[in-house]
């Protein structure tokens, strides 16, 4: 653990209001840290709470009726949970950029790309209006959009999926944020476009020393470009592991995810699937939430208990009770 991480998330618990009295927790005990200049991959199945965690970092949870119920969320020394709207206004979009999940619907359909970029640039009130166009072109050049002058005058429906995603990234980096939260930025895009977007994120990290949280359910992708991987299952972080150590994972869920890669088997060979379905929100099993689907399960895993991440190596933490017995 580093002494001064850029972001520190500890035992974060996010709940939604279902009715006046009923609360459902969608993220329970998420813990990890992000150091500056690192790319962190956040991986897990649909519904594991990845997107909610991202939203907590940009302070837009309340728009989904959710709120932080417990835990710590600290960004560069600022407590984001207690942060007032005025504090958020200085952080959101300026120091933390957000690339949303549905890139294809990302840009505002009734604004030109130019108007939208101008909005992102003018979050800084002191920015001279006369320079907006110059800065817009500069941003579009950073994200490698061809014919930027034309694109400025276009609307989102005139652009391809990859270009829309590039525009969203351009908006996110307009204020040179210290952290970019990219929520499944390439889901639904072609492999070739995906490879280009990933190169672009790496380049941005290199040029501006930006930290990036990259959310995806694509393990090979995450493994290739991230420094560390945080694995989520059913609202909890179950493992944090450096990418290069992924083969020595000490959590059965990570191992199962890794083994379900189709590029590991021969054509038409037997695929290793993960047993069952992810548990649904509110119906989480007691004890380890992966216990129902786990091949390594023992009775002690099913006992109701907290399963914190245990430090088992440099930068490597797991929540599995039987981690020392796992060998592959």
């Amino acid at each position: 653990m580093s002494i001064n991480p850029l972001v520190s998330i500890k035992d974060l618990k996010i709940e939604v209001r279902v009715t006046r009295a009923k609360r459902l927790s969608i993220v329970d005990s998420a813990s990890f840290e992000i150091e500056s200049g690192k790319i962190i991959g956040l991986i897990g199945e649909s519904g594991s709470g990845k997107t909610m965690l991202c939203r907590s970092l940009v302070g837009t949870l309340d728009r989904r009726g959710a709120y932080i119920a417990a835990g710590q969320l600290i960004f560069d020394g600022i407590d984001l949970i207690a942060a007032k709207q005025s504090v958020w206004n200085e952080i959101r979009g300026k120091r933390i950029g957000y690339v949303p999940q549905s890139a294809l619907a990302g840009p505002n359909p009734v604004m030109t790309i130019g108007a939208q970029l101008a909005e992102a640039i003018l979050q800084d009130e002191n920015f001279p209006k006369s320079d907006v166009e110059k800065r817009s072109l500069e941003l579009l050049n950073i994200v490698q959009i061809r014919r930027p002058e034309t694109v400025l005058k276009q609307y989102q429906h005139e652009l391809s999926g990859g270009m829309k995603q590039r525009v969203m990234i351009a908006c996110a980096i307009a204020q040179q944020p210290e952290l970019i939260v990219a929520d499944e930025p390439t889901t639904g895009l072609d492999v070739t476009v995906q490879a280009e977007i990933m190169e672009l994120l790496k380049q941005i990290r290199k040029d501006f020393n930006t930290s990036i949280i990259l959310v995806s359910h694509d393990l090979p992708l995450i493994n290739e470009i991230c420094d560390d991987i945080v694995v989520m299952h059913a609202g909890t972080t179950v493992e944090k592991i450096p990418s290069k150590l992924i083969k020595t994972s000490k959590h059965p869920y990570t191992i199962a995810l890794y083994n379900s890669r189709i590029d590991l088997v021969e054509p038409k060979g037997q695929l290793k699937t993960i047993n069952g379905q992810p548990p649904s929100v509110g119906n989480w099993p007691a004890g380890c939430r992966f216990s129902e689907r786990c091949d390594f399960v023992k009775d002690k895993c099913r006992v109701k208990q907290d399963l914190p991440l245990i430090e088992i190596g440099s930068n490597h933490q797991t929540s599995c009770l039987r981690y020392d017995e796992i060998a592959r």
Partner: protein, 255 residues
């Protein structure tokens, strides 16, 4: 025996006076019992071509035959007994099931339509079919909105199979679902292939294509730039475009 053959098929669209050639004079064969992959980037025309094969889109020129007979008569395709032979699975599992019908009812209706069973028997058949797709009787009673993306996609495969087709055309069946659900769906397709179903698989995910296909067509700008046996395409790609596609697969270095 070729179950589907496409000869010199073109599809052009008129967009504000511009003629766009989505599919440009292509030839294609689907031998019985094989899985054919069509791969290419967005906008290469692969979905349009899949729609031509399934009869949802009429070609501007050229013809498609099913077991030697043209599928098109006048403006209609796959008429009468042919209707059930070719079924399609769509990319978006959210959009391909009726949101106001319970899964079992939606499937039972398709079975009643295509197999001529009565209401009760079709329901039993639907439950059986869903069971074989890994959807329990309990989940079958739910509305599509209550299922996960992977379950929904398996339900729409069940919907397609309820007609007992000889050909399944799958347009990007795995791109909207996550990795573990994808492994389950591909396992399912694998079982169907072993049972002798012929499949046309359209995808930009080369991993999926490599896993299932016997023969691969690579599409770019409306034409097939390369085609060949699956291993040949992946081990010895000839066209630069194919090489670029293969080099973009993430994680090849970390296998």
């Amino acid at each position: 025996m070729n179950i589907i053959e496409a000869k010199d098929v073109s599809v052009t669209f008129n967009s504000y006076g511009d003629i766009i050639k989505a599919v440009d004079h292509v030839n294609f064969v689907l031998p019985k019992g094989q899985t054919i992959g069509i791969v290419g980037e967005s906008g290469s025309g692969k979905s349009t071509f899949a729609r031509v094969l399934s009869g949802l889109q009429l070609p501007t020129s050229g013809s498609v035959t099913f077991m030697g007979n043209p599928i098109q008569s006048g403006k209609n395709t796959y008429e009468g007994a042919l209707r059930k032979e070719v079924q399609m699975v769509f990319q978006d599992p959210y959009g391909s099931l009726n949101p106001r019908m319970r899964i079992v009812k939606a499937i039972a209706e398709a079975i009643r339509q295509h197999q001529g069973l009565d209401k009760k028997a079709s329901r039993v058949a639907a439950l059986d079919l869903l069971e074989s797709m890994g959807i329990s009787a309990l989940d079958a009673q739910k509305f599509p909105s209550k299922l996960s993306g992977g379950q929904r996609q398996r339900a729409s495969v069940a919907r397609a199979l309820s007609a007992q087709p000889s050909v399944l055309i799958a347009d990007e069946p795995t791109s909207a679902i996550d990795q573990s659900a994808q492994a389950q769906l591909l396992g399912l397709f694998n079982d169907l292939i072993k049972k002798g179903l012929s499949i046309v698989l359209v995808s930009h995910d080369l991993g999926v294509i490599r896993y299932l296909s016997d023969y691969v067509y690579v599409m770019k700008d409306g034409v097939f730039v390369e085609s060949g046996k699956s291993e040949e395409i992946f081990n010895n790609p000839k066209e630069d475009y194919t090489k670029k596609l293969i080099s973009s697969i993430p994680g090849r270095s970390t296998k």
